[in-house]
Amino acid sequence: MAREVVIVGGGVRGLAAAVALAGEDAARVTLLERAPALGGVLAVEHPLVERLAAQAAHAGVRLLRETTALRYADGRVLAADGHGPLELDADALVMAGGSRPATAAELRLLGTRPAGVLPAPAAVALARDGVPLARRALVLGAGWWADAAAHTLAATGASVQRVALRGEGGSAHALELRGTPRVQALVLAHDTHVQTIECDTVVLAAGVRPLRCVEGAALGDEAGVCFLDRLDCGGPEGGGDGEQLSAERAAQYAAARARAALSRLAS
């Protein structure tokens, strides 16, 4: 009896899981990637991405690009592409949707809700296209997203200041946004003092959270779901064991975990 496996996310982890599972007995694997190209945070021409994608295609994995998974319930995945909705049977669901930094709410960042406060993935995507988002940017956070944001914003000509929070090697705890209609400052608390940093843009790049937008597979403990996106620190390739993994290691980790999860499901 074929086991239908649906993998959400066509980055390194999702691809590695797809290759690993396609080889297992009687598993039919479909991978859903919402972007037009595979690779996730790596370019589609990255050698590892190219290799895994070729292996996956060769192994009969159904690779669906520009297809967004929306909901998982009762052993079925609801997804949508440009043409309309798509329902897939899923005896097992593998979540490999990547990571994002913490939102303002997750950071308990209060105060006004002014213009000029952006999540790092959005800031990076736009700054990479040369959009001049800021003159004086404050990048909140340390790690992969913060590095990417600082780098891309600086390339657009913005002056960039960085602040690391407690838990990521810094000593600050972000308290409050000030300014209206546009942000004018961020107030941070350190152990001994309060700091106010003036800026016209705040990029939220602190903390790492799994990026999960599939209803029914959001909490990380749902039955029938293998989560490859647990991250304790580091960047998108972090393995949940406290170290930042290289892309190769991330692929190995994903393959091993996916195999283990599928065999648990079978038993």
Binding site: T68, H83, R100, R113, L133
Partner: protein, 480 residues
């Protein structure tokens, strides 16, 4: 330009009134101070369509009773999500239990005929997330939840389809008044002559009345802070959960409210803040919200919050409803509500038309007027379509998903950007579609939504993204 009726204020009441008036032979103009509709009190709405709140016999109670049964029909015609979930008003101790029967009685008299007391077991059966430490509740089966932001824009879109002129960034800064009548209003974008004026300016009610020579109104912003909880938890909530006693007689207290998108709202606090429209969030108030919410629904966990916000309700004098002709200026009508603008908007719009007709407005209902909006297919296609596994049917427009958290398609965004009541900012798209308002708060979709907006509006990306807060727009390099 000259209109039969100029409505001042683009929140839920102004939009509802404009929509109703535009179905008559009267010419209508809606003036909104800010750069988009629904930026004031109506933006911070909890999305409840009450079946009962006001004391029996009051005008407010009559307006609620007249509006409440209409929601299924309104929701279907205006393509707005509405669910009649029911509410439990929960007694947390024996004293509060004594209040349940009188509460149920008042609700029945006030126009909620199905209201009844339920014991603690039935309360738990009706809402499994309810605390064990309760002593029963009043069930209000008629209470509903509604996508209130979408409702405001639906009213406005309907008004525009029926010929109303909707003008944003048009703050009223003066008026020409003669012989006890307003002749015209001066706005930041020009003057507009009016035979009748409806002052539905929310927090600006007193200011607009003063400009128009009307009676002195006393308006106090009542600040309320809210948490928005992740749908992963919110979808487990069945009913609206309300405490018997709020912290003060005039306020319902912190409630736990499921939303039509699957999230849950917890709040509001109630803090009168004379002198300002402050929407900053604050730690102590938000902490109170969580604590009070957990008394009702113990599984509420701050770690599952996706957003917090603050909004100011409109307290006018000592009553919660203001709907009257001004005693001094005979062609001026004031319309305001503190807590349930959404809930009474259908009947209040009807009542405002009646008031205007009584004041001499000629407004005949036009049988050919539009009374429904074309339904949007959304990501999943129209309801009732075949959803067999693997089947795909081609559909018009761009169905590609832009915001996965809230299942918003590119087509939804483009519709939100279109027409005379279309969005001009990312915040406008957020209010109309829910994009960027889900769990990841725009991490996945903000860039794509911005690109779509830039293309559709032919505006530079930097300028659009600079308006990415919940506030107004202010680009870097904007005339600096």
């Amino acid at each position: 330009m000259s209109y039969d009726v100029v409505v001042v204020g683009g929140g839920v009441l102004g939009a509802a009134i404009a929509a109703r008036l535009a179905q008559t032979s009267a010419s209508v103009c809606l003036l909104e101070r800010q750069d988009d509709l629904c930026q004031g009190a109506s933006k911070g709405n909890a999305g409840v369509a009450v079946s009962h709140l006001a004391a029996p016999g009051t005008l407010e109670a009559r307006l609620i009773a007249a509006s409440s049964p209409r929601w299924e029909d309104i929701a279907e015609r205006l393509d707005v999500a509405f669910e009649r979930r029911g509410a439990l008003v929960v007694a947390l101790d024996r004293d509060e239990r004594q209040e349940l029967e009188p509460l149920a009685q008042a609700a029945r008299e006030g126009g909620a005929p199905g209201a009844r007391v339920v014991d603690r077991h039935e309360a738990l059966a009706l809402e499994p997330l309810l605390t064990e430490r309760q002593h029963g509740a009043v069930l209000l089966p008629g209470e509903g939840i509604i996508d209130s932001l979408r409702l405001v824009f639906a009213y406005a879109r309907l008004a525009a389809l029926n010929g109303a002129h909707i003008a944003t960034a048009s703050e009223v800064v003066g008026a020409t008044v003669s012989d006890g009548r307003v002749l015209s209003l001066s706005t930041r974008r020009g003057d507009v002559a009016a035979r009748f004026v409806v002052n539905a300016a929310g927090l600006g009610l007193a200011h607009v009345s003063a400009l128009a020579g009307g009676r002195a109104l006393e308006v106090t912003p009542r600040n309320g802070q809210y948490w928005v909880m992740d749908p992963a938890w919110g979808r487990r909530l069945s009913r609206i959960v309300i405490p018997v006693r709020g912290p003060a007689p005039q306020t319902r207290g912190v409630q736990v409210i499921p939303t039509t998108s699957g999230a849950a709202l917890v709040g509001p606090t109630a803090e009168d803040m004379p002198g300002g429209d402050d929407t900053a969030t604050r730690a102590p108030q938000l902490q109170t919200v969580l604590e009070h919410g957990r008394r009702l629904v113990p599984s509420l966990d701050g770690a599952l919050a996706i957003k917090s916000f603050a909004a100011n309700r409109v307290v006018v004098g000592r009553d919660s409803l203001l709907l009257e002709r001004d005693p001094r200026v005979r062609n001026l009508v004031h319309a305001g509500n503190r807590a349930i603008g959404v809930s009474c908007s259908p009947a209040l719009a009807e009542e405002t038309l009646a008031l205007l007709r009584h004041a001499g407005l000629h407004a005949e209902d036009r049988p050919e007027a539009v009374d429904r909006l074309p339904p949007q297919a959304g990501v999943e296609g129209r309801p009732g379509r075949s959803r067999a596994a693997g089947s795909r049917q081609p559909r018009p427009g761009d169905g590609r998903v832009v915001c996965p958290c809230r299942a918003v398609s590119a087509e939804d965004v483009l519709v939100a950007l279109s027409g005379p009541t279309g969005a001009r900012t990312l915040e406008g798209v957020r209010k109309r579609t829910g994009a960027m308002a889900g769990r990841c708060q725009g991490a996945m979709c903000l860039a794509d939504v911005a690109r779509l907006c830039a293309l559709a509006l032919e505006r530079p990306l930097a300028e659009l993204v600079s308006a990415a807060g919940d506030g107004a727009s202010e680009a870097v390099g904007d005339g600096a």
